[in-house]
Symmetry: C2
Subunit: 125 residues, 2 copies
Protein backbone atom coordinates (compact mmCIF):
# COMPACT_ATOMS: atom_id res chain seq x y z
CA UNK A 1 0.00 0.00 0.00
CA UNK A 2 1.03 3.62 -0.40
CA UNK A 3 1.54 6.21 2.27
CA UNK A 4 -1.94 7.68 2.10
CA UNK A 5 -3.63 4.39 2.77
CA UNK A 6 -1.28 3.58 5.61
CA UNK A 7 -2.08 6.95 7.09
CA UNK A 8 -5.80 6.30 6.74
CA UNK A 9 -5.51 2.85 8.29
CA UNK A 10 -3.49 3.98 11.24
CA UNK A 11 -4.96 7.41 11.82
CA UNK A 12 -1.48 8.88 11.64
CA UNK A 13 -0.72 11.78 9.32
CA UNK A 14 1.29 11.34 6.14
CA UNK A 15 3.79 13.83 7.50
CA UNK A 16 4.23 11.75 10.62
CA UNK A 17 4.88 8.60 8.61
CA UNK A 18 7.58 10.33 6.63
CA UNK A 19 8.99 11.61 9.87
CA UNK A 20 9.10 8.07 11.27
CA UNK A 21 11.04 6.97 8.23
CA UNK A 22 13.41 9.88 8.66
CA UNK A 23 13.95 8.72 12.23
CA UNK A 24 14.54 5.20 10.92
CA UNK A 25 11.60 3.78 12.80
CA UNK A 26 9.81 2.73 9.64
CA UNK A 27 11.10 1.56 6.26
CA UNK A 28 9.52 1.46 2.85
CA UNK A 29 10.19 0.19 -0.62
CA UNK A 30 10.28 2.81 -3.30
CA UNK A 31 8.53 2.40 -6.63
CA UNK A 32 10.32 3.38 -9.83
CA UNK A 33 8.77 6.79 -9.49
CA UNK A 34 10.06 7.21 -5.99
CA UNK A 35 6.84 6.59 -4.09
CA UNK A 36 6.81 4.68 -0.81
CA UNK A 37 5.18 1.28 -0.60
CA UNK A 38 4.47 -0.62 2.58
CA UNK A 39 3.61 -4.21 3.43
CA UNK A 40 0.37 -4.91 5.29
CA UNK A 41 2.03 -5.36 8.65
CA UNK A 42 3.37 -1.82 8.48
CA UNK A 43 0.17 -0.76 10.21
CA UNK A 44 1.11 -2.87 13.22
CA UNK A 45 4.51 -1.28 13.25
CA UNK A 46 2.99 2.18 13.20
CA UNK A 47 0.64 1.28 16.03
CA UNK A 48 3.59 0.06 18.05
CA UNK A 49 5.47 3.27 17.40
CA UNK A 50 2.43 5.26 18.44
CA UNK A 51 2.12 3.27 21.63
CA UNK A 52 5.73 3.93 22.51
CA UNK A 53 5.39 7.61 21.72
CA UNK A 54 2.32 7.67 23.92
CA UNK A 55 4.47 6.23 26.65
CA UNK A 56 6.59 9.34 26.41
CA UNK A 57 9.55 7.69 24.72
CA UNK A 58 11.63 9.72 22.30
CA UNK A 59 12.37 8.76 18.73
CA UNK A 60 15.88 7.83 19.66
CA UNK A 61 14.77 5.61 22.52
CA UNK A 62 12.26 3.90 20.29
CA UNK A 63 14.97 3.45 17.69
CA UNK A 64 17.11 1.75 20.30
CA UNK A 65 14.21 -0.36 21.46
CA UNK A 66 12.83 -1.59 18.17
CA UNK A 67 15.59 -4.13 17.43
CA UNK A 68 14.63 -5.81 20.70
CA UNK A 69 11.22 -6.41 19.20
CA UNK A 70 12.07 -6.95 15.57
CA UNK A 71 15.04 -9.24 15.75
CA UNK A 72 14.36 -10.44 19.26
CA UNK A 73 17.81 -9.29 20.12
CA UNK A 74 18.58 -10.53 23.56
CA UNK A 75 21.67 -9.07 25.10
CA UNK A 76 22.27 -7.80 28.62
CA UNK A 77 22.31 -4.28 27.22
CA UNK A 78 19.00 -4.61 25.41
CA UNK A 79 17.32 -6.18 28.43
CA UNK A 80 18.62 -3.38 30.61
CA UNK A 81 17.29 -0.84 28.15
CA UNK A 82 13.87 -2.43 28.12
CA UNK A 83 13.68 -2.57 31.88
CA UNK A 84 14.93 0.99 32.22
CA UNK A 85 12.18 2.29 29.98
CA UNK A 86 9.62 0.17 31.74
CA UNK A 87 10.73 1.63 35.04
CA UNK A 88 10.48 5.14 33.63
CA UNK A 89 6.91 4.47 32.61
CA UNK A 90 6.23 3.09 36.07
CA UNK A 91 7.57 6.24 37.63
CA UNK A 92 5.54 8.40 35.30
CA UNK A 93 2.40 6.50 36.22
CA UNK A 94 3.15 7.10 39.88
CA UNK A 95 3.49 10.81 39.26
CA UNK A 96 0.19 10.88 37.46
CA UNK A 97 -1.56 8.91 40.13
CA UNK A 98 -0.24 11.32 42.74
CA UNK A 99 -1.45 14.30 40.74
CA UNK A 100 -4.81 12.66 40.26
CA UNK A 101 -5.17 12.07 43.96
CA UNK A 102 -4.49 15.72 44.64
CA UNK A 103 -7.07 16.80 42.13
CA UNK A 104 -9.50 14.29 43.62
CA UNK A 105 -9.03 15.83 47.00
CA UNK A 106 -9.90 19.23 45.62
CA UNK A 107 -12.90 17.86 43.76
CA UNK A 108 -14.25 15.98 46.73
CA UNK A 109 -14.08 18.95 49.04
CA UNK A 110 -15.43 21.33 46.44
CA UNK A 111 -18.42 19.09 45.80
CA UNK A 112 -19.17 18.33 49.39
CA UNK A 113 -22.39 20.21 50.26
CA UNK A 114 -21.40 20.40 53.91
CA UNK A 115 -18.15 22.13 53.20
CA UNK A 116 -19.35 24.93 51.00
CA UNK A 117 -16.23 27.00 50.75
CA UNK A 118 -14.14 24.94 53.08
CA UNK A 119 -10.43 25.39 53.06
CA UNK A 120 -8.73 23.10 50.60
CA UNK A 121 -5.20 22.22 51.44
CA UNK A 122 -3.77 20.99 48.19
CA UNK A 123 -0.27 21.96 49.15
CA UNK A 124 0.19 19.33 51.82
CA UNK A 125 1.70 16.22 50.36
Amino acid sequence: MRIGELAARTGVSVRALRYYEEQQLLTSIRSSGGQRHYPDDAADRVHLIQTLYAAGLSSKTILDLLPCVDAKVNTPASRALLRAERDRIDQRISELVAARERLDAVITSSESPASGCTHVDLASA
Copy 2:
Protein backbone atom coordinates in the same frame (compact mmCIF):
# COMPACT_ATOMS: atom_id res chain seq x y z
CA MET B 1 13.20 34.74 51.16
CA ARG B 2 14.68 35.68 47.82
CA ILE B 3 14.46 33.78 44.58
CA GLY B 4 17.70 31.89 44.94
CA GLU B 5 16.71 30.35 48.21
CA LEU B 6 13.27 29.42 46.94
CA ALA B 7 14.94 27.75 43.98
CA ALA B 8 17.28 25.84 46.30
CA ARG B 9 14.43 24.76 48.56
CA THR B 10 12.22 23.53 45.77
CA GLY B 11 14.81 22.21 43.36
CA VAL B 12 13.35 24.40 40.65
CA SER B 13 15.54 26.75 38.63
CA VAL B 14 15.50 30.50 39.14
CA ARG B 15 14.50 30.85 35.53
CA ALA B 16 11.52 28.58 36.06
CA LEU B 17 10.34 30.59 39.06
CA ARG B 18 10.43 33.79 37.07
CA TYR B 19 8.58 31.98 34.32
CA TYR B 20 5.89 30.91 36.78
CA GLU B 21 5.44 34.51 37.80
CA GLU B 22 5.23 35.56 34.18
CA GLN B 23 2.48 32.97 33.76
CA GLN B 24 0.79 34.39 36.86
CA LEU B 25 1.09 31.14 38.74
CA LEU B 26 3.26 32.64 41.44
CA THR B 27 3.41 36.11 42.95
CA SER B 28 6.10 37.96 44.83
CA ILE B 29 6.65 41.17 46.70
CA ARG B 30 9.34 43.42 45.32
CA SER B 31 11.92 45.12 47.52
CA SER B 32 12.81 48.74 46.88
CA GLY B 33 15.59 47.53 44.65
CA GLY B 34 13.22 45.43 42.58
CA GLN B 35 14.16 42.05 43.97
CA ARG B 36 11.54 39.37 44.52
CA HIS B 37 10.69 38.24 48.03
CA TYR B 38 8.56 35.24 48.90
CA PRO B 39 6.77 34.03 52.01
CA ASP B 40 7.67 30.61 53.41
CA ASP B 41 4.65 28.85 51.98
CA ALA B 42 5.76 29.79 48.48
CA ALA B 43 7.65 26.52 48.46
CA ASP B 44 4.39 24.62 48.81
CA ARG B 45 2.92 26.59 45.99
CA VAL B 46 5.88 25.75 43.78
CA HIS B 47 5.60 22.07 44.64
CA LEU B 48 1.93 22.19 43.70
CA ILE B 49 2.73 23.80 40.39
CA GLN B 50 5.36 21.18 39.73
CA THR B 51 2.92 18.40 40.49
CA LEU B 52 0.39 19.80 38.07
CA TYR B 53 3.03 20.26 35.41
CA ALA B 54 4.07 16.67 35.99
CA ALA B 55 0.49 15.69 35.35
CA GLY B 56 0.84 17.16 31.88
CA LEU B 57 -1.22 20.27 32.52
CA SER B 58 -0.30 23.45 30.68
CA SER B 59 0.41 26.79 32.31
CA LYS B 60 -2.95 28.09 31.22
CA THR B 61 -4.82 25.12 32.62
CA ILE B 62 -2.98 25.45 35.91
CA LEU B 63 -3.80 29.14 35.92
CA ASP B 64 -7.46 28.28 35.49
CA LEU B 65 -7.26 25.65 38.18
CA LEU B 66 -5.45 27.57 40.88
CA PRO B 67 -8.39 29.80 41.89
CA CYS B 68 -10.26 26.58 42.75
CA VAL B 69 -7.61 26.03 45.37
CA ASP B 70 -6.70 29.54 46.43
CA ALA B 71 -10.05 31.23 46.69
CA LYS B 72 -11.98 27.95 47.05
CA VAL B 73 -14.05 28.97 44.08
CA ASN B 74 -16.89 26.55 43.77
CA THR B 75 -18.91 27.05 40.63
CA PRO B 76 -20.29 24.53 38.14
CA ALA B 77 -17.65 25.72 35.69
CA SER B 78 -14.76 25.24 38.06
CA ARG B 79 -16.00 21.81 39.08
CA ALA B 80 -16.33 20.83 35.44
CA LEU B 81 -12.79 22.02 34.80
CA LEU B 82 -11.45 20.00 37.68
CA ARG B 83 -13.23 16.86 36.54
CA ALA B 84 -12.14 17.36 32.95
CA GLU B 85 -8.50 17.53 33.94
CA ARG B 86 -8.90 14.59 36.24
CA ASP B 87 -10.36 12.58 33.37
CA ARG B 88 -7.49 13.58 31.14
CA ILE B 89 -5.04 12.30 33.69
CA ASP B 90 -7.05 9.09 33.92
CA GLN B 91 -6.84 8.63 30.21
CA ARG B 92 -3.13 9.32 30.20
CA ILE B 93 -2.61 6.73 32.90
CA SER B 94 -4.48 4.20 30.79
CA GLU B 95 -2.24 4.92 27.85
CA LEU B 96 0.83 4.46 29.96
CA VAL B 97 -0.43 1.24 31.45
CA ALA B 98 -1.10 -0.07 27.95
CA ALA B 99 2.39 0.89 26.85
CA ARG B 100 3.87 -0.72 29.92
CA GLU B 101 2.04 -3.95 29.21
CA ARG B 102 3.36 -3.85 25.72
CA LEU B 103 6.91 -3.47 26.94
CA ASP B 104 6.36 -6.17 29.54
CA ALA B 105 5.36 -8.57 26.81
CA VAL B 106 8.57 -7.83 24.96
CA ILE B 107 10.62 -8.18 28.11
CA THR B 108 9.02 -11.48 29.05
CA SER B 109 9.60 -13.01 25.65
CA SER B 110 13.13 -11.69 25.44
CA GLU B 111 14.01 -13.17 28.81
CA SER B 112 12.31 -16.48 28.31
CA PRO B 113 14.80 -19.18 27.21
CA ALA B 114 12.12 -20.92 25.13
CA SER B 115 11.00 -17.86 23.28
CA GLY B 116 12.70 -18.63 20.02
CA CYS B 117 15.25 -15.90 20.35
CA THR B 118 17.75 -15.99 17.57
CA HIS B 119 20.53 -14.41 19.49
CA VAL B 120 21.41 -15.23 23.05
CA ASP B 121 24.37 -13.65 24.69
CA LEU B 122 25.92 -16.13 27.08
CA ALA B 123 28.53 -13.68 28.22
CA SER B 124 26.12 -12.38 30.80
CA ALA B 125 26.49 -15.53 32.93
